[in-house]
Amino acid sequence: MQTLSTPYGRLDLDPARLELGELVVSDDGVELEVVSLEPLSFEPAPEEAEDWGE
């Protein structure tokens, strides 16, 4: 496990087990989407957008 600091809070995770598109939650409660593995990067993940859903 590693602790990563992001502008949206800290993340405790194992970078080797992450997948593209996976959601992780920071200690500030912000949901982040894994958008790149190398380099590892995250973006805030909105809960919904206009044309999402079934």
């Binding site: 997948e19 593209l20 598109g21 996976e22 959601l23 989407e33 958008v35 790149s36 993940a45 919904e48 957008a49 206009e50 044309d51 999402w52 859903g53 079934e54």
Partner: protein
């Protein structure tokens, strides 16, 4: 010894963006079948016209956005891939007016539906259908911006809101009779030619979407439910679909047909391995024989012209 082309299974690809529980369950199900799957993260993908022949691929689209999914389907089909669901199916299911048109053309029962483009015609439609009416955006999901209107004042206020919001999707008015359903609606999960599971969604909100807190209960997929659901699925072009059904006094009516189905909350109540059913269907498509592949291409070609 190499197999002749028609005997080789096609490669399976799943295109996704955010990994929801559905995508994780699908990958696990495909893994249990021992199938090799190429995973494509859509934000990292791009397409160049005519650059790749994908006729050896079956592609499952699991992207969140309707617009993105439709574009992906069109591009991948242009490259020769078999896409689940096909672009024409996504197009029909993502637009309620197009769904209603397809259901009407196939004679599938649905609530009385009127599409209008001006306030005067909307009000005339409401009075013809009888109060209350339900007005929905032609593109939208999870029950958002769906309104039940009980009188002209409510409809006029809604029209004004839509006009202020602007945008083409708010200038087409999709009006349906209100079905006084028994506190629930039904959903049939169609995979290929079969209804693999059915649920009832029950809730206090008149919009019984699980996204709005409706409770899910597994129900038996009776003969009539199966017949209507399969006819609805066929009407929009078939594939992997969720058909929503309303229990009206005059029988089962199709509310909508969803192409990007969510099923995480339906596995437990039904006891059906829905991701496993989808995975097996994909594998069967990857093994589809040459004649079936040809038929699929022909069907796509006809739809592209019509």
């Amino acid at each position: 010894m190499s197999l002749p082309l028609a005997s080789r299974p096609r490669r399976l690809t799943v295109v996704h963006d955010r990994l929801r529980p559905e995508e994780t369950l699908l990958f696990e199900a495909l893994d249990r079948l021992g199938v090799e799957v190429e995973r494509v993260y859509a934000p990292n993908w791009s397409w160049e016209a005519g650059s790749i022949d994908r006729s050896d691929q079956v592609v499952l689209l699991r992207t969140l956005s309707h617009a993105r999914t439709l574009v992906l389907a069109r591009l991948l089909e242009a490259d020769g891939a078999e896409v689940v669901n096909r672009a024409a199916v996504i197009d029909r299911c993502g637009d309620k007016a197009a769904t209603s048109a397809a259901l009407a053309a196939a004679g599938v029962p649905q609530p009385r539906t009127v599409v209008a483009f001006s306030p005067a015609e909307v009000i005339r439609a409401c009075e013809t259908l009888g109060w209350p009416v339900v007005i929905k955006p032609v593109v939208g999901s999870w029950g958002r911006m769906v309104a039940r209107c009980r009188d002209v004042d409510a409809v006029e206020a809604l029209i004004e809101h839509k006009q202020v919001l602007g945008g083409p999707s708010h200038q087409t008015f999709y009006v349906q009779e209100h079905i006084d359903k028994p506190g629930r609606d039904l959903r049939a999960f169609v995979v290929g030619e079969r209804v693999v599971a059915a649920i009832a969604r029950e809730g206090d909100d008149w919009r019984t979407n699980t996204a709005r807190g409706a409770l899910v209960r597994g129900v038996e997929a009776g003969a009539r439910l199966q017949e209507v659901a399969l006819r609805a699925a066929a009407a929009v072009g078939g594939g992997i679909l969720a058909v929503d059904l309303l229990e009206a006094p005059r029988g089962l009516l199709v509310g909508e047909v969803n192409h990007g189905l969510e099923f995480r909350n339906s596995i437990g109540p039904t006891g059906v391995d829905i991701p496993g059913e989808i995975a097996r269907y994909l594998v069967s498509r990857s093994h589809a024989d040459a004649s079936s592949r040809t038929q699929n291409r022909r069907a796509g070609a006809v739809e592209a012209v019509s």
